[in-house]
Amino acid sequence: MLELMLLPFFACIVLTGIHAYLGIHVIEREVIFVDLALAQIAALGSIIAFMLGIEFHTTGAYLFSLLFTFIGATVFSVTRLKERKVPQEALIGVVYVVTAALAVLLIDRLPSEAGHIKYMLVGNILFVKWSEILKMFLLYSAVGLFHYFYRKKFLIISIDINKAKKQNLSIKWWDFLFYASFGIVVTSSVEIAGVLLVFAFLIVPAVCAMILSDTLKTRLIIGWGMGLLGSIIGLYFSAAFDFPTGSTIVCVFGLLLLITALTKKLIK
């Protein structure tokens, strides 16, 4: 059993590493559901590629979904409104439901079973392979380094847009870079771990960290710790009680958030 849970465990470590960090950005920007929207846009890309005769899980299909991710990134970067009459989250939600519904319409016209396609686009962490973990690790390290290198710019546009304006940063350009790199990450994550689990990895450790701390450095450390803890407990429960692995980890993350919030309240 231990051997079986080893690969999912390594996958969880890699996922925690990048998502806890990106989660802090996403929450600061108040664009919580942007990962769902971008993953759905990418899925739409692979479905359209499939309609054009490109099989799933080929380089062609990947490039196609990447192209769609970049289109999504462009949309989200040009729609960051100056005066916040309507929260950007509303637009993100609309993009999500419309692309999801569009996928349903397209699948309806495809010459194979719908369930089949859903299965092909959403992964299961229990079945992750070494090669996938390695690929994920290399890709996320590259994105991570890119963000580390330009950390000041990425942080300013996420946290303090007025300051960014004063520094004459091209906000649209940096927003695009953020969403594009973010899109690259979540698209591969969803393909390996599924939508629910990726969302949990992105949001829960970051929220816990932000409840407990105010500086980026400690937030990151807490976020990584929480991600690791949730992964270990979730994988253990999944193995011990024979629950579907991804959903178990998500529930454990929910529990961790609850405990964190209660602890914070008690300490106050």
């Binding site: 699948i107 079973e113 089949h116 859903k118 229990l126």
Partner: protein, 303 residues
């Protein structure tokens, strides 16, 4: 703390005990309870068999769990439905890293291998053709007449894996095939009065069943699981049911029964919920039970 330690020790011992015990028996894993019933009937007490899915599950959408991988890991024989319907099995097999049951290995059996398949598309497939399986319709277990080649294939595999029991498997196979054959005649006799009758099904999963009993499938409510039917499709279907006098809609319990009921109401028909697999209803524990149940229930509603 002490208690949990004892539990752990007991668990380890029992696991160890069961694994040594299983050594005498060939261990088999199947995708569905139907296939497990076949293996059980042929393998008798020489084979230990478990099914990875239970009767009420939609085979398109089984959620894999760690124990499934562990079961496949220990298996000497794996029997799957194939034809792309049990795709989740692929992940389970790969994760188990059990070389004995990988595709093309000695312990791997795709039960669809020698089935006379229906609805196999001819020529080039394109999007305009609607719901199409490249291998044909995969719901062949709904037709008990398809059991014969599967039983034969299971018998051959078991004999190959455990040659010393070859005769035993052959005897069991003959006995069970005979029993099932008699049952098939009995079911056909029961359905005789309804020959040529038209039915509508929720998903396109009943052509093998319909063919066996000479029923005609006039249409399906939801051609693809998860994709709601368009209003035009429902209109056409209701129209068709009225004009062709279709009085019965057959649906599996995991699909949307209320949708079927609203269509039945419009068309003046009745909905019959039939379990698709062994274990789908309490008391339906074997493949023969399953068709006893389904045939009786259908006859009751057709009367």
């Amino acid at each position: 703390m002490e208690k949990s330690k004892i539990c752990l020790i007991l668990l380890t011992i029992s696991l160890f005990a069961s694994s040594t015990y299983a050594k005498n028996k060939l261990s088999a894993v199947t995708a569905t309870a139907d296939l497990a019933d076949f293996v059980r009937n042929i393998g008798g007490d020489k084979v230990e068999v478990v099914s990875l899915s239970v009767g009420n599950q939609d085979l398109h959408a089984v959620e894999p769990r760690p124990s499934m991988v562990m079961k496949v890991k220990k298996a000497g024989l794996l029997v799957r439905v194939g034809m792309d319907i049990d795709l989740w099995m692929q992940g389970v097999i790969e994760a188990s890293r059990n070389k004995n049951v990988m595709r093309d290995a000695k312990g791997y059996l795709d039960a669809s291998l020698n089935i006379h398949k229906l609805e196999v598309p001819e020529g080039k497939i394109d999007a305009s053709m609607g719901d199409i399986h490249i291998y044909g319709n995969p719901h062949y277990l709904y037709g008990p007449e398809n059991a014969a080649p599967i039983l034969k294939a299971i018998k051959s595999k078991l004999s190959e894996l455990s040659p010393e029991n070859k005769e035993y498997f052959q005897e069991n196979c003959n006995e069970y095939s005979g029993r099932l054959g008699n049952k098939i005649n009995e079911w056909k006799a029961k359905m005789e009065p309804f020959k040529g009758m038209k039915i509508v099904t929720y998903h396109n999963s009943w052509p093998y069943f319909a063919k066996m009993f000479d029923l005609k499938v006039a249409g399906c409510i939801e051609p693809k699981p998860g994709i709601p039917p368009s209003p035009a499709h429902i209109n056409d279907l209701v129209e068709k049911m009225r004009s062709e006098n279709v009085k019965t809609i057959i649906i599996e319990p995991y699909y949307n029964v209320s949708v079927a009921e609203s269509i039945a109401k419009k068309a003046g028909a009745k909905v019959v919920v039939l379990p698709p697999s062994v274990g789908g209803v309490k008391g339906v524990d074997t493949y023969i039970d399953l068709f006893d149940y389904n045939v009786n229930k259908l006859v009751e509603s057709l009367r």
